[in-house]
């Protein structure tokens, strides 16, 4: 898993690249949480364009970050999820909680 963050005011954009499964979950979670220690970040945009595989372990990572943002009154958006990943997101009802752009 490769992560690439860009800060823009209160917004943090993170582009993920690779396979987001249980094996890569811990690294991904730790990376994002380290950056989110900065409480002035209120919006997290996760770009899934480079994610070639995600299963429900990956979903858990995204839902966990959603909770972190929500606690501080911020929000999370997801963009560019492929068809299979989008299906898992839809099944989980996450789209009622987060913004979604650019399918």
């Amino acid at each position: 898993m490769e992560l690439n963050g860009t800060r823009n005011g209160k917004t943090l954009n993170i582009a993920l690249k690779g396979e987001l499964d249980h094996h890569s979950a811990e690294y991904t979670r730790n990376w994002i949480d380290a950056v989110l220690k900065d409480k002035s970040i209120k919006e997290l945009v996760i770009d899934m364009k480079g994610v070639t595989f995600m299963d429900s372990s990956g979903l858990g990572v995204i839902l966990g970050r959603y909770r972190t943002l929500k606690e501080r009154g911020g929000r999370l958006s997801i963009k560019n999820a492929n068809k299979s990943i989008d299906r898992i997101f839809r099944m989980s009802g996450i789209y009622t909680l987060v913004d979604c752009t650019g399918m």
């Binding site: 499964d21 299963d55 429900s56 372990s57 858990g60 839902l63 299979s84 099944m91």
Partner: protein, 144 residues
């Protein structure tokens, strides 16, 4: 096509999750699946193998077994562990149910397996282990 089968077992290490779905996907390739069918199989196998590692063996050393079969146009994967087992299978299969929320599990593993495959069977005995059987007919996808 003729019947074909393979049996694999591997150490219950998280780095083998990607390996296991790759093995299942490569074997299924012989049925000429669409990219979407292949992705469904890879995802479902990943769920079952991950569960064996984190729930079955709770990250302690153990061996995960996977048997794959090609019969006519049907792909079958049987994923087995000799770990903790499941007390209440119908509870475990509920969407969002997880016994490990502290690990940020989504509780959607079984739900994903059910949605992505044609059939999902779970057999388990507490203290003995769990067997998950996944089946999918290839070339039935109407949307393709």
């Amino acid at each position: 096509m003729a019947q074909n089968e393979m049996h694999i077992s591997f150490s219950g290490l998280s780095q083998n999750e990607g390996f296991a779905r790759m093995v299942a996907g490569s074997f299924a390739m012989q049925l000429n699946p669409t990219i979407e069918e292949l992705s469904d199989i890879r995802t479902a196998v990943s769920e079952a193998v991950t569960n064996a590692i984190i729930h079955g063996y709770e990250n302690k050393p153990g061996t995960v077994y996977m048997d794959c079969y090609l019969n006519d146009n049907e792909f079958t994967a049987v994923i087995r562990d000799e770990g903790s087992g499941i007390e209440d299978i119908s509870l475990a299969r509920q969407p969002f149910y997880t016994s490990k929320p502290e690990l940020e599990r989504s509780g959607m593993g079984f739900t994903v397996m059910e949605a992505f495959m044609d059939t999902l069977e779970v057999a388990s005995e507490p203290g003995k282990g769990t067997v998950v059987t996944l089946k999918k007919k290839i070339g039935q996808d109407q949307s393709q």
